[in-house]
Symmetry: D2
Subunit: 357 residues, 4 copies
């Protein structure tokens, strides 16, 4: 079968591999819709997860079940499914501790295009099908559905972890597709005023539709100062970090009130200095005593998460398809879609590839 | 000054009283908008809080500050304010334990028309003005604002206590103004599917606008059975009780999944039998072991709560004025509005009295 | 193989059955120590789970692994293990929702002596061995260890669910082995004053060792009144129900402060009246508005839970062997031990059967 | 009256000041027992809170009420009281948001020896006496009681914020009196294994009595590596930071499991580099995605907190007097006690000054 792979750091191309084999509780799935993720760019061109050879990329997919193992009960060939980016080993100890995304080690629930082949292939393997697949509801468009596996799940997590009270004021740093989903997530948790920090016009437009009430342009000055001023000196109740470099906590922590939560769903690809560290501002953090919690998490995966996200779409609570700005058709367009994600033109939020199945 | 009072159980009328005097940290407020509450009906005609003589009724008001004590910093005569139904003693021990609505004893944060005169008067007294008043934002209509002191605060609490996860399925029992606010609250916390149990057409219409996806008519059979069937046997993740008699837990507990929350904001005016009790269904409760929590609370009061609710309205997250179905003008119409609340015609959700100030 | 079974409601006896067969991820275990539970009495003589024929009883065991399936990684024949009473299907949806004891339906994590044969046999079957067994630490006595599978796990849950703050005042209703474990659990969560309600002298002695500061004798009057008086009218911050009949909530809810938690780990075998209900006191519950939450749960199972409980014993945080008042030796004494549990003489807390393996 | 004051940064001495005057809801208190805190050293000699002139130091005291304002109900002259280090303005907005230690701005609940005169005086002023004083229980020794206002409250907070599950493994970094209290607090929350990082023999001895099971000596190598090795590679469930410099998060975050909590109660007096920052290790933090939360707080104050801590002592849950290694007698010894705290000889945990009242 054909797959779009990271050949080595810095090089991406089509390869041929054997179709994966299916364990007794697993499934083999053919893609219906695929979306490249910024993580794919980090992985392939920046070496974010280290060197890999011929690793098939991709972890955002809808698909059609092609084969299931003998122990699979709830899915059968032909079923249309949502495939979460994170597919935990549900019988591992981290699940019992309450952290399914961390099974088998830090970030261990993330398997696709990390330590096994990803979904950018004619067929891909899903572990624990009954626990890690969800039925794609009739009537959900592919453009909407393919945002669930990672974008909505990660972005909403940013909001969920932020302990938002009804009517609270929230700042979302970054308005890529994860940041936009965090804005939508903040609204879904009951935020009142929502500051969105970003500038790209296509994203700004969606940010407003998703609930942002104030757009902050970092080119107009320090974002923490802008937001503190806009709130009459108070700062915000919660900050969601959905983008930014190693220095982003300097502003994020500063703009929070005493008692605020700084909720990170950003991938830190590079630290500062020899320590390879992410700095917290000592004064802005109240010398460590201002009740400003810095909380984190990895995209929740698994079946129930996907089913719940699907409910959000089914009942019209938000429309993820607004983020699908560029639609490609056919498996062969996948490389083009990936390269577009790498280039990030101004009108791009998310490219989506629809397949003929 | 004039006030509309409970003369004794079963009798309501206008009385004359002295204008209340203002403590050093308190305020005297003139009403701008008033709304009768079902609790006023319970109090006046059903003896819900016991016998009272010449107790001025009412606890839902917007107003204009007429006088403040010497220790009040943030409010001055002429300020337009939101007056929460619950005005805690913020320096009492229950606050330090985390339960401001319970200061000084069970339900002790509820003072208006309970153990002091209420807001249905030409002037009323607010304890701890800096902590218990909030500025009425410019541009908020009186019809919208007067829903905040009790309806939104209580209804939203039902949703907040229900520990709703994004995409969860929720049932709201009762679609009076509190139930409608619970529906809106459930949507604000991220619910997917929302069942609303009720029949009155005016309320059903607003329920849908506030986020209800399925209307359940109890005349079509047992509500627990209807909802369990509609969810394919699963039941719901959370139940909010916003109305109903002493037997309501029988259905509410039954329709919840193992692991669900049953969140009560209903006033139980009458119990069953000699025990004066509210029955939990033994089997439906999983013989006490199915992880179904029954949680409760009294309307949160205080300034910050009102400010946050105001943000919800200001930023268009929901429109409480949809519940103000009957608008009266002038202080003298107050008795008529109260009697309408008592009669509850089919097209009524909430009567509101607007004053000329 | 031989097993001690419920032949039908009201009749218990030895039977012969085939040795269970081992699935690929499962284990077959021989018992090292067994303990009868009050639930066994309810099951066998009171029909608590309905009619059963030749169902082997028992769910509290330590054992030696006799056989493992091909997919089991962490256990091998000869390993000494703790076997939790509750053995969830870790790949089921209730786990993803956060309720592993409720897999497959209400109380569905409870399999032994419920819908499959229990541990009172020469061999018994454990599903998902890697997830549901824990290694018995060297140096832990069998009398101590056999209290972990159910008594400690259930009793501690009562305390965990009670949201106890450091220094809070707690009441524990019932001082059977679960109640005693709840007392120890309340101390482990940081309770200050702990009221224990019960009278049996052997249990009273252990209650004090486990942290009870006040013993309340229900023969001296209504327990709620006694506890409210002893706290100067305040009531307690948390109530743990670890015993009592259908009416126990009447007192439990009454003795809690506004803002308290009533945490139930009691099995309700019988309800009241035609409704088969468990009554909440309307007034004591603050007419449903005094912030008194009634929370529940089923004994947590699984490997990590057992490992953590083992740490408590290993590091001397409490000594569960104090509850093992009656030690029997040899598999053949099991029926005698079970009958002793049924009789409940005054000096009994828990009978334990040690086996020669 | 006489007071021991910071004259300017680097200089401490006795001064004369007017006795403070008492507001209507306040109290004037004479000290019964006083304890210098490391914060006093930071304040006086390191300029931790900036320049101050003739600011009376001290925030740890027991006392006798000398005068109360007309509005004080629960205290009268002659009452023996516990005075919390943190005395919030209970009617401020931060309380309504749930953060009483942050009233009026970051760390604003901390008034004594911060922005008003402290307790190292013949008389000192306590705001909101009914809310911020607690009665000293009969039978509590002064050496024990004087540990409550700051040491126990801060140290326990470290444990409370760490979300410790029963049986969890915890590391406490630092074994000064706050670290020792965190160890005791971790035990009070149900920790199993507790690593204590420190070397001073007097403190090591108390650490073990308070529940530490493993003592880690940083002179034997990197503490994170030592603890990870001791846990078989797993790391710990929670880390409490109760001491250390700007780099302490580098180890603290690294030694936590995915899903762990890093709970800080350490004062960061100095940051790193131009950014004045506290570095988080990028890799150890799982590139921001390993569910490792960094949480903080300031010592909880107020009456209920003190009353609950007193219960811990009254019911023998832990004995804080073990930390009072050096007892001084008489107000005039206060400077000597403070200087001893500055010198920190090897056998010192905490000096205490007892007064003749």
């Amino acid at each position: 079968m054909k797959g779009l792979a990271m050949l080595r750091i810095g090089e991406v191309g089509w390869i041929e591999k054997d179709r994966p084999s299916c364990g007794s509780r697993d499934a083999i799935v053919k893609p219906l819709a695929l979306a490249p993720c910024t993580s794919d760019i980090h992985t392939a061109w920046e070496g974010a997860i280290g060197e890999r050879h011929n690793l098939i990329l991709g972890h955002e997919a809808l698909g059609i079940v092609d084969e299931v193992g003998s122990g699979v009960k709830d899915f059968k060939p032909g079923d249309r499914v949502i495939v979460p980016a994170i597919t935990p080993d549900w019988d591992s100890e981290a699940v019992q501790r309450g952290f399914p995304s961390q099974t088998g080690g830090p970030l261990g629930g993330w398997k696709f295009s990390n330590f096994k082949d990803g979904v950018f292939a004619e067929f891909f393997h899903v572990n624990l099908a009954d626990s890690n697949l969800a039925h794609l509801p009739d009537g959900m468009t592919l453009e909407a559905g393919v945002m669930l596996p990672d974008m909505l799940s990660t972005g909403f997590l940013g909001a969920e972890n932020a302990r938002i009270e009804i009517g609270a004021t929230v700042a979302v740093l970054g308005i890529g597709p994860v940041g936009l989903s965090s804005i939508a997530g903040a609204k879904l948790r009951g935020a009142g005023r929502i500051f969105a920090v970003g500038t790209r016009p296509a994203a700004v437009k969606v940010a407003k539709k998703y609930g942002a009430t104030d757009i902050i342009d970092y080119r107009n000055g320090n974002t923490a100062e802008q937001i503190i001023e806009a709130t009459g000196g108070a700062g915000v109740d919660a900050v969601i970090i959905a983008g930014g470099g190693a220095e982003i906590l300097m502003d994020a922590v500063t703009m929070g009130k005493p008692g605020s939560v700084i909720s990170n769903v950003n991938y830190f690809g590079k630290g500062i200095g020899d320590r390879d560290s992410i700095p917290i501002p000592r004064a802005g953090w109240g010398v460590g005593m201002a009740d400003k919690d810095i909380v984190t998490g990895l995209c929740p995966g698994g079946r129930v998460r996907m089913e719940r996200l699907a409910e959000i779409v089914t009942y019209g609570r938000m429309d993820p398809s607004l983020m699908a700005t560029h639609i490609f058709k056919g498996f062969d367009t996948l490389k083009e879609a990936l390269l577009l994600m790498k280039e990030k033109p101004g009108d791009l939020i998310k490219p989506v590839v629809l397949l003929d199945q």
